[in-house]
């Protein structure tokens, strides 16, 4: 065990892990965050708080994680390299650990041209893999970038993302291998809708010996409606929603589409659970946190391990 992370304990004990996602409010209203998080307390092993996702300005992930921790939730801090240089990232890692946060998800982040501050400078001083290595060196060597020693090294459980559906497809497992070599402990994947493609990716990762070295959490997102599915399929970068799934959700009456979306999510969970090397799921119920308990109950994952 490298850290005090509860998520690490769950995975190390061989339990099928369940994490959820929580988007912080566009402002300082804590009650919004508390309302969302209340649906997740005791239901999942950890909650990942996004870092200005799609480059929309929101409450900082570290601040929101600290609030969630106070509610008894195990938080995962998201850190994107889009907005902060290596000085700010490393400083925030110190701060996050000092606040009792024990998990970090290292991302490059959606490009700022998607967000509500399009005129911003994109920092990109580091990329996600370099951030993974930075966090690992802090933990295992007690140093910052360029080797200087630090007082009280943050010992984070280190996550990163991978998108098995992005191009070039043949390169995706190679990139996963680079993340593993850089020191990643767990991977959250892009939302899995194309389970066949995901299965192929996991087989390649397994054959490359990567699934023994890293815990892969399959990303699952319940679709709320056919309109949302179409939007995600066409407008959201890196998303792969097969045509047959779009037809399936479009084929039911509007008022039943949300239920169909949940049924699809539950089926997806049951399918990915059988794929060798899948260590858990990461449930991204976007602005729909209240459905997390229902989805987990239907998927037979309502009971969370005590570690």
């Amino acid at each position: 065990m490298n850290t005090e992370s509860k998520l690490e304990k769950v995975l190390a004990a061989g339990h099928f892990a369940v994490t959820a996602e929580c988007g912080p409010p566009k402002g300082s209203d804590v009650s919004v965050l508390e309302r969302k998080a209340a649906h997740l307390v005791g239901r999942v092993d950890a909650v990942n708080v996004t870092d200005n996702q799609t480059a929309i300005v929101r409450m900082s992930s570290i601040a929101a994680c600290s609030i969630l921790k106070g509610m008894g939730i195990e938080p995962v801090v998201q850190m994107v390299t889009r907005d902060r240089n290596r000085i700010a990232l490393q400083s925030d890692l110190f701060g996050a650990y000092a606040l009792g946060l024990r998990n970090v998800l290292c991302l490059t982040g959606d490009h700022h041209s998607f967000g509500n501050q399009k005129a911003a400078v994109g920092v990109f001083d580091l990329d996600s893999i370099q951030l993974v290595r930075t966090v690992r060196d802090m933990r295992d060597k007690g140093t910052i970038i360029d080797g200087e020693a630090i007082q009280g090294a943050p010992k984070m459980f280190i996550g990163a993302a991978e998108n098995p559906f992005a191009d070039p497809v043949a390169w995706r497992v190679t990139r996963l291998a680079k993340k593993v070599a850089a020191g990643v402990d767990f991977i959250q994947t892009q939302c899995v809708f194309n389970v066949d493609r995901f299965e192929e990716f996991m087989l390649q990762a397994h054959n490359a010996g990567l699934t023994d070295k890293v815990s892969v959490l399959a990303g699952v997102t319940p679709l709320k409606s056919a309109a949302m599915a179409r939007y995600m399929a066409t407008k959201v970068a890196g998303m792969d929603i097969p045509e047959e799934l779009l037809k399936r959700i479009s084929g039911v009456p509007k008022e039943k589409q949300a239920q169909e979306g949940i049924t699809i999510a539950v089926e997806t969970i049951q399918r990915v659970r059988k794929i060798p090397g899948v260590a858990g799921i990461h449930l991204m119920a976007i602005e729909w946190e209240e459905k997390v308990p229902e989805i987990l109950e239907s998927a037979g994952l309502a009971q969370r391990p005590q570690v």
Binding site: D110, Q130, I145, D167, W171, G238
Partner: protein, 222 residues
Amino acid sequence: MIVAERKSIAEIRSLVDRYASILVVGCDSCVAECAAGGHRETQLLAAALKLSFHKDGKSPIISEACLDRQCVDDFIEGIAHQVPEHEAILSLGCGAGVQALARVYTTTPIIPALDTLFIGETEMRGVWQENCLGCGQCKLGYFGAVCPVTRCSKKLMNGPCGGSKDGRCEVNPEIRCGWQMIIDRLTSLGELDRLAEYVPPVDWSRSHSGGPRRVVREDQKP
């Protein structure tokens, strides 16, 4: 070369309206190649300005000149006789040209007529592509002569990101994914092994992050 685009007449007017005489100075190097500030564009801008002023019932003196290079003193001196006759110079040089004129002609206002954009190449007639950020540490040798710092929208050194689709960038389908280009090129060269290793963070101190850069070569000094 340096690639630039001309500002709108409205913006140029807002900058030069206060002057009764203007010397419009082109540059026949990079900005001529990108059809923004060469001989032809200098004539066109002078004519357009005259027309624009005329519509407002104004008729300042507008003269033209074009230098072979606006960023080298030997050429800049070519307009020395015309400068005192004008209240201001409207430069169609790149940002370097504008500032070089200002360094030489210390008492004359120098107004830019162009927005300087990037270091790039003429990909085809009418299309110019950015492909160098002048980071000060060329790594093209590792990436199949495709620059990740410039051609990847996120400057990824260990790319591609999850937003690459059909060879296109998540930012805009008009942008080719730089990492797809790197991988394709190294695949065709049989050198994909160059990408296996982790690439550490870039030392940006050699780039503009280290402050304005200057090259001093004693062997080249007079």
